[in-house]
Symmetry: C2
Subunit: 270 residues, 2 copies
Amino acid sequence: MTTWMRLMSNDGRIVFGRVENSYLHEYESLHAPVPTGAVLSLRTLTPVAPCAPGKVVALWNNFHALAAKLEKPVPEHPLFLLKPAESVIGSQQPIRRPAHYAGKIVFEGELGIVIGKRCSNASLDEAEAAIFGYTIVNDVTAAGLLNENPHFPQWCRAKGFDTFCCIGPAIVSGFDWRSARVVTKLDGVERQNYPLDDMVFTPAQQVSLISRDMTLEPGDVIACGTSLGVGSIGDGATVEVSIDGIGALVNTLAVSSGEAEAAAAVEGAA
Amino acid sequence: MTTWMRLMSNDGRIVFGRVENSYLHEYESLHAPVPTGAVLSLRTLTPVAPCAPGKVVALWNNFHALAAKLEKPVPEHPLFLLKPAESVIGSQQPIRRPAHYAGKIVFEGELGIVIGKRCSNASLDEAEAAIFGYTIVNDVTAAGLLNENPHFPQWCRAKGFDTFCCIGPAIVSGFDWRSARVVTKLDGVERQNYPLDDMVFTPAQQVSLISRDMTLEPGDVIACGTSLGVGSIGDGATVEVSIDGIGALVNTLAVSSGEAEAAAAVEGAA
């Protein structure tokens, strides 16, 4: 197993590389993993999302336990929506409440597949070879918008807001997802704990089947869908999604400035 | 009105600029419209999609006439899905049938808004100022997949295939969309002819409201939705979507190699 991170130096430069002890061995990029020779101390660098996907393909109903709870049949092809590049943030970066939305915001802890090679109509073997590694995703949703219009479920809108796709803290290549579990804690209290071997479509099947629908590019992420235990994030609450062997993805729903102002006004009036 | 195009030179270089008579006056880029001083003959260049969107936001149910026909109320917020960057092609480039899909493929002629400035939570005035210009979109759909799964409408999949977002031939800034019509011809026969002033959300309203949902970036495209008259494209058929003042977007659904082989086999057997 190799751990890869993407970080920002003090001068704003983005570096990508392999983590060993407390050092980053810099590589040219995820799709050209050639070492540059530079070795940087992680202490001088700020982590950002471990890749910069052009698109994030997010699956719905990809776990047997969740399908059973929803009383839906498991699908015959991955069911997905797209989250835009602008929705991506890294670990420790704040989730921001949309300015015009006061409703429920929900976390979903998930395994993320990071694509390493362009692929289209990939066989299972080609799909397996196109996977650079695995990461963790918190697929955040403005739940109140999803079915706001009864004629059109707004998947892309509800899940596409800036900061609603938390990815990180690292990508691990050679990771054995079959024996791993996704554990999600809300303010330290466990809310999800599910085994990845309950997935309907394995990562290689997802990459193969989705690559029939659209060309997948290096850095693109497939969020494998969540299972039981999703729930609401209060303003100011912290979600930690962890997978042993990859790490912990930690994001706080920022108290919005509007609310801060409202709270300040209340304080001022008191 | 100014007409802008993006083209490829013989050596594969992409150039962008203002069209005057038969010449391209090159500009640095759409979001930095600074002339480079170069003037190139259009005859030496091959047109490609006039911008390279990171994402395409495609609206559903944005025309009063279509809403009436569908017997749906007009929405209170733009209803949209996302089409990935890889789905974009330019005029005269072939639409390709997905390798594993034999069903109906449908055209939708639409006005396209091209974003010129990054915008988020934009007011109507800011939204208007963020519009670089207008183009034409053929929002292609694998109609048989949309409701293949009764539990999850597959908008992103059905509309997200490579080559399913035809954009072009040009972007026109200063274009008066209010007096324009979208005319779609299938193999020369008119199938759509609808006025743009029947739109539910005007372009500035779309940009303003969608910028509350996600940051829009220069080059991003909003496909304004279609109206009456969408229909099926047979293999080998040509769709021409035109808007007076912008031009004609022409794309043919390529006869797939699989079908060509099957046809060849039939011929061989005959």
